[in-house]
């Protein structure tokens, strides 16, 4: 049987050595990133856990973590869940084991229930954790002192509302809009839709929602949906609201096919580079940036300050434990400033971008 011969070749000494050489090569690649400049942090290991490095938001998130780790010369690891809760949790457990609990973790849990398991594991082994975006509503940092340091999020409702108003302004405040949503059950998708609905309600009948379709955060689906809308509504579409930039860019390309790019304004959320460029080109009216560089860096800086005794986290007020970060509205006027200033991080100003305690709605 050929199966047997494959097995045999796998276990042969030569292939084992080849595998070892490969691993060594990968290892040396990792080492080349370390740069001894500042007083070396040897006790704590830092880690960001996120969904995938294949999307710009999380890639920038990881970069923020790496920048903070560099500033204190600590070991930094990025864990990737690939959208799999079990993988996310077991990777964290393995890292806790390896570091003997001396772990500072900044995690964007794959799904809300994961946060509870992760917090329990970190507390058991004496590490420090900050969660982002997703957690059960009844799980609070102050119930798990001092190990559960904080939960950070961004308020999608006011951001989407302000963004929608920016869109209405771009087409003169009167007419029909179409809206593309994210995965229907996702919290950010629900919040962003709610913000849009509020803005439409406040227009007192001047702006109408022609149609709403979910495109599951996917630019390709948004392209097809927009193309069908152009047939169905034609010139009635005055603006396109997309719940994220990727879908907004998909819609923009469908408009371009119909020679409408720049004529029918589009808005999106997340502040990815392509959307900022489209804002500069006048094809997007605006985008909202969540500042993932800050999230990725400060999500480690705050627990590091708690772990090393710089702050007594148990004594911090609730608005320092569960808080919204600052979203940035990027319009044509502010795009240049956003691009140049967006990358400066001040790691000693722990709550500088805190915009208030998280609200739980319905």
């Amino acid at each position: 049987m050929s199966d047997k011969s494959i097995l045999a070749s796998w276990t042969s000494r030569r292939s084992f050595l080849q595998g070892g050489a490969g691993l060594a090569a990968v290892g040396s690649l990792g080492l080349s990133f370390a740069s001894p400049a500042i007083a070396k942090e040897t006790t704590w290991t830092l880690a960001n856990s996120l969904r995938s490095l294949a999307n710009p938001y999380h890639a920038t998130f990881a970069k923020g973590g790496a920048e903070f780790a560099k500033s204190i010369d600590a070991t930094y690891v990025t864990l990737v869940t690939e959208g799999n809760s079990e993988k996310g949790i077991s990777d964290i457990k393995a890292l806790l084991q390896r570091t003997g609990g001396k772990l500072i973790l900044n995690v964007d849990p794959n799904d809300s229930p994961d946060a509870r398991v992760i917090v329990d594991e970190v507390q058991k082994s004496g590490g420090y954790v900050v969660t982002q975006w997703n957690k059960p509503n009844d799980l609070h940092p102050w119930d798990h002192n001092p190990n559960y340091v904080a939960h950070m999020s961004f308020d999608g409702v006011p951001a989407a509302k302000a963004l929608a108003k920016e869109l209405f302004k771009a087409f003169g405040g009167e007419g029909g809009v179409v809206a593309i949503g994210g995965i229907l059950s996702n919290v950010p998708a629900i919040e962003r839709k709610a913000g849009l609905d509020q803005a439409i309600a406040e227009s007192a009948g001047k702006v109408t929602l022609l149609d709403f379709q979910p495109a599951d955060w996917n630019g390709q689906k948004a392209f097809d949906v927009t193309q069908a809308w152009l047939t169905r509504f034609g010139g009635k579409i005055k603006g396109v609201f997309a719940a994220n930039d990727d879908m907004g860019l998909g819609a923009l390309e469908a408009l371009r096919q119909a020679s409408l790019a720049g004529k029918v304004p589009v808005v999106g959320l997340d502040g990815i580079a392509g959307a900022v460029k489209a804002v500069e080109a006048g094809e997007f009216a605006a985008t909202v940036a969540w500042d993932p560089l800050w999230t990725g860096g400060m999500g480690l800086a705050i627990p590091y300050a708690a772990a090393t005794g710089k702050i007594d986290i148990a004594k911090e007020p609730k608005e320092h434990r569960e808080f919204y970060g600052t979203s940035i509205m990027v319009t044509k006027d502010s795009a240049a400033a956003f691009k140049s200033g967006g990358s400066k991080l001040n790691f000693s100003d722990l709550w500088g971008k805190d915009t208030g305690q998280i609200q739980y709605r319905g």
Binding site: L184, D211, P214, Q220, D224, L230, G274
Partner: protein
């Protein structure tokens, strides 16, 4: 295995199957009525769908919607040409999204873009297609030589592809400013989008391979019964590797078209394409068990899938209902097109 033993037939009959197309078979009077209906079922579904949508939304028949539909179908069409051959052979290819991603990222980095300083223009197109072909070859080579199921081999190569694309761009997006590449999607020739012409060329090429080459006949024979095909002296391993390579070439082309359409390349550019591709092939009437179907069936399949998605938005079907309708239609189409006489065991 049971199925294969159950339908051992003289090898000569398989060589005949290879020369038939869905349409020509439908015209042959000696074939029983039931079989003729089966061949025409996908066409009937398509026509019924068009009538239904037009009744609710006369806009459907407008020229602008027609052009929009051609645009939406172009990339799935090219992908389906590759996938049909593989499914006809009785295998499956799950590496679609990975190969498209590698090809797309490569094109976006080789033409004028905001990430690298390369700018080789349309020369990037054959490079990307060949890289797609190389990954397809890898699929076939690993599948045949290691005797791993095509399901797992292609899944693995697909993941590796997404991984390579992610690593190369570090999760970011390369935006292209090369207008000659964008012309492949935005340009119009004789009033029709260039992408539609490319898809048309891909269909004609596949039809040529299927109808006029030995490769086309062999893949039907392998799909219908690999063991007998082997006895008949058909070089099975070579054919399999070649077909996977051809499919890879088509995916590479689809990668180029994706970049032309979106003006950017990133690792997740083909997200969701695999499902559409396999659905279109199966809805068109090509059997997953192999040996039955044609690239023409897949053309119909692609139109059914894209027109359905387009039509539901035109008719204003609530988003919650859309997926349900899509699922239902897949089952109806497969039920109508299935050849039950060849099924001994249903898995």
């Amino acid at each position: 295995m049971l199925r294969r033993l159950g339908c051992l037939r003289p090898a000569a009959s398989f060589l005949l199957v290879g020369t038939e197309t869905a349409l020509s078979r439908a015209l042959v009077k000696t074939i029983p009525l039931q079989s003729r209906w089966r061949d025409l079922a996908p066409v009937a579904v398509l026509v019924a769908l068009c009538i239904l949508i037009t009744a609710f939304s006369p806009n459907f028949l407008s020229i602008s919607n027609f052009i929009g539909l051609l645009n939406s179908s172009a990339i799935p069409m090219v992908l389906c040409m590759g996938a049909t051959f593989i499914i006809l052979m009785g295998s499956i290819d799950l590496s679609v999204e990975g190969i498209v991603a590698v090809s797309a990222v490569l094109v976006s980095l080789l033409v004028e873009n905001d990430t690298t300083s390369y700018s080789i223009g349309l020369l990037a197109v054959p490079v990307a297609i060949l890289v797609g072909g190389a990954m397809g070859f890898l699929n076939g080579f690993l599948h045949v030589k290691l005797k791993t199921p095509s399901f797992m081999t292609t899944l693995g190569v697909g993941f590796a592809g997404i991984g390579i694309a992610t690593t190369v761009l570090g999760g970011f997006t390369a935006r292209i400013s090369d207008q000659s590449v964008r012309f492949l999607s935005l340009g119009r020739v004789l009033g029709l989008p260039v992408a539609a012409w490319i898809a048309c060329g891909a269909v004609l090429l596949s039809l040529l391979v299927q109808e006029r080459t030995r490769l086309g006949r062999w893949l039907y024979a392998i799909g219908a019964d690999e063991i007998t095909a082997g006895y008949a002296g058909i070089p099975i391993e070579k054919t399999r590797i070649l077909i996977f390579t051809v499919a890879g070439l088509f995916y590479g082309l689809a990668g180029v078209m994706s970049v032309a359409q979106f003006g950017q390349g990133h690792a997740l550019i083909a997200q969701g394409r695999l499902f559409t591709t396999v659905t279109a092939v199966v809805v068109g009437g090509t059997a997953l068990s192999g040996g039955v179907g044609s690239v023409l069936n897949s053309v119909i399949g692609v139109f059914i899938v894209t027109i359905l998605a387009n039509g539901m938005i035109l008719m204003g079907v609530p988003p919650y209902v859309q997926q349900g309708v899509q699922g239902l239609l897949i089952i109806v189409a497969v039920t109508l097109a299935l050849d039950r006489t060849r099924l001994d065991v249903v898995k």
